[in-house]
C-alpha cells in the first residue's frame, strides 16, 4: 500500500542567518515530522526568533535552505512561495491581529485571498474556527475588546483559517496567567490531535515544554546552533551538557512545592 504521509514536513538544511554582518545561527539543520510538537528553546539572544523568522520567510538566510514537503522555500519563486505560505499558519508573540478589523474579518482575510469561497461559506468557516478556539459568537468584536488570552485564541483561529499542515507559535504563553496558559496548551494539543497539524513552538515556558513537547531542540548563543535535541524529560535527565541541564531542570534554590496536587486535579491534557 502506498503511504502518502511524508517523512518530514519541514527540513532545515545548513541554515545560517543573522542581521547585517552579525551571524546569529550557523549551519543549523533539523527536521520536523508529521503531527510532531517540536519546541525550539534556549536562552535569551540564542536565535530562536531569528530561526523562526527564517523559517516563515520574514528573514532571508545567509545560506542554507528551508524546505516544506520537499519543496525549497528559500529558492522558491513568487508563485511557489505563495503556495508554500498557504501550508503554514503563524501565531505571533503579540498576536498581530489586524486591529482595524473585527475577529470575523481577521479570520476571513486569508480565506478571501487564497480561496474562491462564497461569503456564506466563509461565514460558516469563521464561526467554526472561532468555536474551535472557544470564541463562539465573538465575530463582531475588535481585537482591542478582547483579553490577552482571547486574543491568543483569535490569533490561533486566524492561523488555522486555511487548515494549514503546520502552525508556528512564537512564545504562545507570553503575558498569560498560569490558568490561561494551561488552556492554551490544551488547545494546542486539541488542534494537533484533531487536525494532525505539525507544530513548531518557540517558548521559554518549562511547564508547557514538559506538557506538550514531543521533541525539543536547544539553541545556544555561543555555539550559534543546536546543542541538544530530544525528548525534554530525557534531555533533562540524561544530558551531560550543563547548559541543557540548567535550562530544563528546576533551580535548586527554588524547588517546586513538594505537596502533591489535590485529588481530582491532573495534568493529563488529553481530557
Amino acid at each position: 500500500m502506498k503511504n502518502d504521509t511524508p517523512a518530514t514536513v519541514i527540513e532545515v538544511k545548513n541554515l545560517s542567518c543573522g542581521y547585517g554582518e552579525t551571524v546569529v545561527l550557523q549551519d543549523v539543520s533539523f527536521a520536523v515530522h508529521p503531527r510532531e510538537l517540536l519546541f525550539v528553546i534556549g536562552g535569551s539572544g540564542c536565535g530562536k526568533s531569528t530561526l523562526l523568522g527564517c523559517m516563515i520567510g520574514l528573514l532571508k538566510p545567509f545560506q542554507g535552505d528551508v524546505a516544506y514537503f520537499g519543496k525549497s522555500f528559500t529558492a522558491a519563486d513568487a508563485v511557489q512561495r505563495r503556495d508554500i505560505l498557504k501550508t503554514f499558519g503563524v501565531l505571533y508573540q503579540n498576536n498581530a491581529l489586524w486591529s482595524s478589523m473585527t475577529l470575523a474579518e481577521n479570520v476571513s482575510l486569508p480565506l478571501e485571498e487564497h480561496t474562491s469561497l462564497t461569503r456564506e461559506d466563509r461565514q460558516e468557516i469563521i464561526a467554526l474556527k472561532l468555536t474551535q478556539v472557544g470564541l463562539s459568537g465573538s465575530e463582531e468584536l475588535y481585537p482591542a475588546e478582547l483579553s490577552g488570552g482571547m486574543q491568543k485564541r483569535a490569533a490561533l483561529a486566524r492561523a488555522l483559517a486555511l487548515d494549514p499542515a503546520i502552525v508556528f507559535f512564537d512564545e504562545p504563553s507570553t503575558g498569560l496567567d498560569p490558568i490561561t496558559s494551561r488552556q492554551m496548551d490544551r488547545l494546542i494539543l486539541q488542534v494537533r490531535d484533531t487536525l494532525g497539524t505539525s507544530m513548531v513552538i518557540v517558548s521559554h515556558q518549562l511547564s508547557s515544554i514538559f506538557r506538550l513537547a514531543d521533541r525539543v531542540i536547544v539553541l545556544d548563543r555561543q555555539s550559534k546552533g543546536i546543542i541538544a535535541e530530544g525528548a525534554p524529560a530525557e534531555l533533562a535527565a540524561t544530558s551531560t551538557d550543563p547548559r541543557v541541564r540548567d535550562f530544563l531542570n528546576e533551580d535548586e534554590d527554588f524547588p517546586k512545592p513538594t505537596n502533591p496536587p489535590p485529588a481530582g486535579r491532573s495534568y493529563d491534557l488529553s481530557k
Partner: protein
C-alpha cells in the same frame, strides 16, 4: 599594637542626624558601634572622619540599638572594609544583622565607582554627515517602493475586484474630513496675504483692480494645490506613516506577508489612491477659498466690489490655469501617499521608530511636493501652459 584612642561619642557635625556612631578601644580591637536610623536622605558619619587617624590590629563593627537602615549603612561599612584592607587591619562585621551581612557579601566584588558619564554629544558636522547618509538611503528606498506600487496598480487594473475599495473609501473620507478645516483656514489666509502684498505695490500705480489677477493666478496655479498638499502631508501623510508604523511594530504587516498577502497591495495602494483622488478636490476647494480671501481684502480695503473682482478673476484665470494646478495636485497626492506609506512600512520596530517615521513622512512628502512642483514648472514652461 596600638589601641584606638577614645573618640567623642558622636560626631559633633551629626547631631541633627539620627544615625549614631561610637568608636572606642576594646582590648586590642577598635570597637565601632553603629546605631539609630541610617538614611540616604539624611547626613551619616563618614568612616575616615571616625577612624582616619587611628591604628589598631583590627576593627569590629557591632550594632547598638540599630534601627532602620538602607544603602547608606552598607556604603559606610564598605568604606570601612576598604579602609581596613588598605591599612592592613582585620575587619569584623559578624555581629551585624544577618541580612546586612548577606548584602555585604553580595556586593563584595564591587569595583571602584566610575563617574556618571553623559552620552557624548556628537559634533554638528558628524550629525550633518549622518543625516546626509540617512537622506541618501531614504531617497534610494523610494525607487523600489515606486516599482512595487506600480506593479500593484497594474494588478488592480487587471483585477479591479481584488482591490480593497472599501478601505480606499474610508481613507478618502478620513483625508477629506481631517484636512478640510485646516485647508479652509490656510487657503483663505494665503489669499488674504497675497492680496495685501499685491495691494501695497499696485495701489501706487492705480492698478489695484489687478490684485484679482495676481491672487487668482497665484492661487490657482501654485498656492492652492501647494497649500492643500502641505496640509495633507502634515495630516494624512503623517497619519499613514503612524498607522502603518504601528502595524509594523505589532507584527501585523508580518502577519500579512506570512499569509501570502502583499502588504503593498493591501495597505499602500488604497491609501495612495485615496490621497491621489482627494488631493485635486482639496486643491479646487483651496483655490476657491484663496480667491475668496483676496476678494475679502479687495472689498474691505481697496473698495473693489466683489462682482468686479470676480469678473476680473474670470477674465484672467483660464481653464488651463485651473487644470494645470489640478494635474499637479494629483501628483502631489501620490507623493504624499507614497511618502506616508513608505515611511510607515520601513519603520523601526519601536515606539521611537514610529515617531521618526511620522516626522520623516512629512519631510519626505513636502520634499517630493516641492520637487514635483519644480518639475511641473519646467514642463509647463516648455509646453507653454
Amino acid at each position: 599594637m596600638t589601641a584606638c584612642r577614645q573618640l567623642p561619642a558622636v560626631n559633633t557635625e551629626l547631631k541633627a542626624a539620627t544615625a549614631r556612631l561610637e568608636a572606642g578601644p576594646a582590648g586590642s580591637e577598635c570597637l565601632v558601634k553603629v546605631g539609630g536610623d541610617w538614611r540616604l536622605s539624611e547626613p551619616v558619619p563618614s568612616w575616615i572622619g571616625v577612624l582616619g587617624k587611628r591604628t589598631g590590629a583590627s576593627v569590629r563593627v557591632v550594632p547598638d540599638e540599630l534601627g532602620k537602615w538602607d544603602t547608606s549603612l552598607v556604603l559606610f561599612l564598605l568604606h570601612g572594609r576598604a579602609w581596613c584592607a588598605q591599612s592592613k587591619k582585620d575587619f569584623h562585621a559578624d555581629a551585624l544583622p544577618e541580612n546586612l551581612q548577606s548584602l555585604l557579601r553580595q556586593v563584595a566584588g564591587m569595583g571602584a565607582p566610575k563617574p556618571i558619564a553623559k552620552a557624548p554629544v556628537k559634533p554638528s558636522w558628524a550629525l550633518v554627515g549622518t543625516m546626509a547618509k540617512k537622506m541618501v538611503s531614504h531617497a534610494l528606498e523610494i525607487v523600489p517602493f515606486v516599482g512595487e506600487c506600480t506593479l500593484g496598480f497594474i494588478g488592480v487594473v487587471k483585477k479591479p475586484c481584488r482591490f480593497r475599495w472599501m478601505d480606499c473609501l474610508v481613507e478618502m473620507q478620513q483625508c477629506w474630513v481631517s484636512s478640510l478645516p485646516i485647508v479652509s483656514l490656510v487657503s483663505f489666509l494665503v489669499g488674504v496675504i497675497l492680496a495685501f502684498q499685491a495691494a501695497i505695490q499696485l495701489r501706487q500705480f492705480g492698478a489695484a483692480v489687478f490684485v484679482a489677477d495676481l491672487v487668482g493666478l497665484a492661487v490657482v496655479r501654485e498656492m492652492g494645490p501647494m497649500m492643500a498638499a502641505v496640509v495633507v502631508a502634515g495630516g494624512t501623510g503623517a497619519g499613514f506613516a503612524a498607522q502603518l508604523g504601528n502595524m509594523k511594530v505589532d507584527q501585523e504587516i508580518d502577519a500579512l506577508e506570512t499569509l501570502g498577502i502583499s502588504s503593498v497591495d493591501f495597505l499602500a495602494l488604497p491609501r495612495l489612491l485615496a490621497a491621489a483622488v482627494m488631493m485635486p478636490i482639496l486643491a479646487l476647494y483651496a483655490n476657491v477659498l484663496g480667491i475668496l480671501g483676496g476678494m475679502f481684502v479687495s472689498a474691505t480695503m481697496l473698495d473693489i466690489p466683489a462682482t468686479a473682482y470676480w469678473i476680473e478673476t474670470q477674465n484672467r484665470v483660464g481653464f488651463s490655469d485651473v487644470t494645470s494646478g489640478l494635474i499637479k495636485s494629483l501628483f502631489f497626492g501620490l507623493a504624499v501617499g507614497l511618502a506616508g506609506c513608505l515611511r510607515g512600512m520601513k519603520c523601526d520596530r519601536s515606539a521611537a521608530g514610529v515617531g521618526a517615521a511620522t516626522s520623516s513622512a512629512v519631510v519626505t512628502g513636502i520634499t517630493l511636493i516641492v520637487l514635483a512642483d519644480a518639475l511641473f514648472a519646467m514642463i509647463f514652461n516648455v509646453l507653454g501652459i
